[in-house]
């Protein structure tokens, strides 16, 4: 079984559009949407829910007993999440990381860590394949843990079903969700755009893939927006032994097709559609289980 994760660094470069079309072009696969706080991969499909589970994620500290205003918790907290511990204790739930240090140092057991339902994860049938996706509660922490959970679930399902490919749509950025969606996959596909921001963020996310020892492919989307910048990206790839997998032209039809829930790769007239098909043809030999 092979696994590939689509990432970008910068948001909005086309990860989900490309992933949606790959879902349609691939065979004997399973898909995972690892952008758990703003997931969009289901939108192009009509998902039929097969399974819904609660995600009990990390905990937060709560004052549940009688505080004696000793101030020890505030002193011990490294995340500035506790204030007023000598008068009227307050725990800032945005800052609290659920480490349990305050609970440990409290001499009268007035603080307890409480685990909450931090979201849900789902298994859906989307016609072309099974999709494992999730919905992290707004503002919740531990997206990495949720991603690991849905990836493990997808692996189990793929083994049971005899699927030989897991297609993973990643999150923007280079942090926790990206690292969790990349860890242990065979390939990363980096979708970038020829803008100053796109170039910078592509290099950053490539550093992450390199750090995790994952072979990267690169595709420049909207390449004709700035051909000079496209060449800069491609030069960087050649110098760093990153495989160039494709170039997709700017095409007004892409958002229109999205709005109509139609696949751009079905339009023989669309330059973007053709190049997404070519991108898939370039990648698919690597994604075969030998």
């Amino acid at each position: 079984m092979k696994q590939i994760t689509i990432i970008s660094g910068k948001g909005g470069t086309g990860k989900t559009t490309i992933a949606s079309n790959f879902i349609k072009l691939a065979s004997n696969h399973i898909a995972v949407d690892c952008d758990v706080d703003a997931s969009n991969l289901h939108i192009m499909f009509e998902p039929e829910l097969r399974k819904k589970e609660e995600f009990i994620g990390g905990a937060v500290a709560r004052v549940t007993g009688d505080c004696i205003n000793c101030g020890k918790c505030e002193e011990a907290c490294r995340f500035d999440a506790i204030s007023g511990s000598k008068t009227d204790i307050k725990i800032d739930l945005i800052r609290c990381e659920g480490c349990g240090v305050c609970e440990y140092v409290c001499p009268v057991s007035a603080i307890e860590l409480e685990s909450d339902c931090q979201g849900n994860y789902f298994v859906s049938d989307i016609g072309y394949c099974t999709l494992v996706h999730a919905r992290l509660k707004p503002g919740a922490e531990n997206s990495g843990l949720l991603i690991t959970r849905i990836r493990n679930l997808a692996e189990d399902l793929a083994i049971n079903n005899g699927n030989d490919l897991i297609l993973i749509d990643g999150a923007p950025g280079i942090g926790c969700p990206v690292i969790s969606s990349l860890a242990g996959v065979d390939y990363a596909l980096i979708i970038t755009e020829p803008t100053v921001s796109g170039i910078s963020d592509f290099k950053r996310v490539y550093e992450v893939a390199k750090f995790l020892d994952i072979k990267a492919f690169v595709c420049v989307n909207k390449y004709d927006l700035n051909v000079e910048n496209t060449e800069k990206i491609e030069d960087f790839c050649l110098k760093n032994d990153i495989r160039l997998a494709g170039r997709i032209p700017y095409d007004d039809r892409v958002p229109l097709y999205l709005s109509n829930r139609k696949f751009i790769t079905e339009d023989a007239e669309s330059g973007a559609g053709r190049e997404i098909i070519n991108l898939w043809k370039t990648l698919s030999p690597y994604l075969k289980t030998s």
């Binding site: 660094g9 909005g12 990381e97």
Partner: protein, 278 residues
């Protein structure tokens, strides 16, 4: 007054809007909190004068003392410490630096060191903008450690523009938490609408007032506008889908620099926020 610029979906134009607001008004703080993918500096072109290293504390275990580190592994809520016989296995990427293992572990056998997780760069940009950007070191996950250090640099007597990271999870909420107003940037597509709805859910729960900017207006469909009208959400501005804007953006030329008539429109938004919204 803190005005944050956010979006659920990435790549909708947060940086374009945040930079335009800052350039239109000037004499403000600009904070790039999108520390995983900081891009505002390409457009504001600040003269970076100062760089601060952001570190976190991470433990190391003196196994040669023969001490038992089982309690550290049991305590760690992030599963960053595992013990196998006399061996301690530490997973630095899972460590939050809470210091718990130091508290519970065998005395004198757990030590801590500073580990660099990124940088904060500081400088000046025209006109009169104090510029701060966070830069997470690739391979590290401590987005919030950097944002938390940046919090300390905010000059609260000034207008503060925060360029937030995308999404709706902890890094976005952390960036927004002290905001007086949030400008949500979206695009008129099903992805834009879905993620706009999610980010509004966050703002409502945080009781932060907000308005919407529709970027690349003309692509996709009219459902974002319908959604805003139906829910009485203020549409602050529409920015058309324009190849001139896109090509200039690709070279690092901001909207206001490309066409100065936008400065007036962004100033109006700031006037509205100051006078009516906050």
């Amino acid at each position: 007054m803190i005005i944050s610029v956010a979006s659920g979906k990435g790549g909708t134009g947060k940086t374009t809007v945040a930079v335009s607001l800052a350039m239109a008004r000037g004499y403000c703080n600009f904070m790039d909190y999108d520390v995983e993918a900081p891009n505002a500096s390409f457009f504001l072109k600040p003269d970076i004068k100062n760089e601060q290293t952001v570190t976190m504390k991470q433990p190391y275990f003196l196994t040669e003392t023969g001490a038992d580190f089982k309690k550290c592994a049991e305590f760690c809520h992030f599963n960053a410490v595992a013990v196998a016989g006399k061996e301690v296995i530490f997973f630095p990427e899972l460590c939050h630096g809470c210091g718990g293992c130091l508290l519970v572990g065998p005395e004198g056998s757990v030590m801590e060191k500073d580990v660099e997780v990124g940088k904060i760069r500081k400088g000046k940009a025209d006109p009169g903008i104090s510029f701060f950007m966070g830069d997470l070191k690739p391979g590290y996950m401590r987005t919030i450690t950097i944002q938390s250090e940046m919090d300390k640099l905010i000059e609260h007597d000034k207008i503060v523009i925060i360029d937030c990271p995308p999404g709706t999870s902890c890094p976005m909420v952390f960036s927004l938490k002290d905001s007086d107003y949030c400008v949500l940037v979206t695009e008129p597509t099903p992805y834009g609408l879905n993620d706009l709805d999610l980010s509004i859910e966050v703002l409502k729960s945080m009781k932060i007032p907000y308005g919407v900017i529709i970027n690349r207006d003309g692509i996709g469909d009219g459902k974002v506008e319908e959604y805003c009208n139906k829910n009485n959400i203020k549409i602050l501005l529409k920015i058309p889908n324009d190849m001139g804007i896109a090509r200039n953006y690709s070279r690092g030329v901001s909207l206001v620099e490309y066409d100065n008539s936008w400065a007036g429109k962004f100033n109006k938004i700031l006037d509205f926020i100051e006078k009516e919204a906050v």
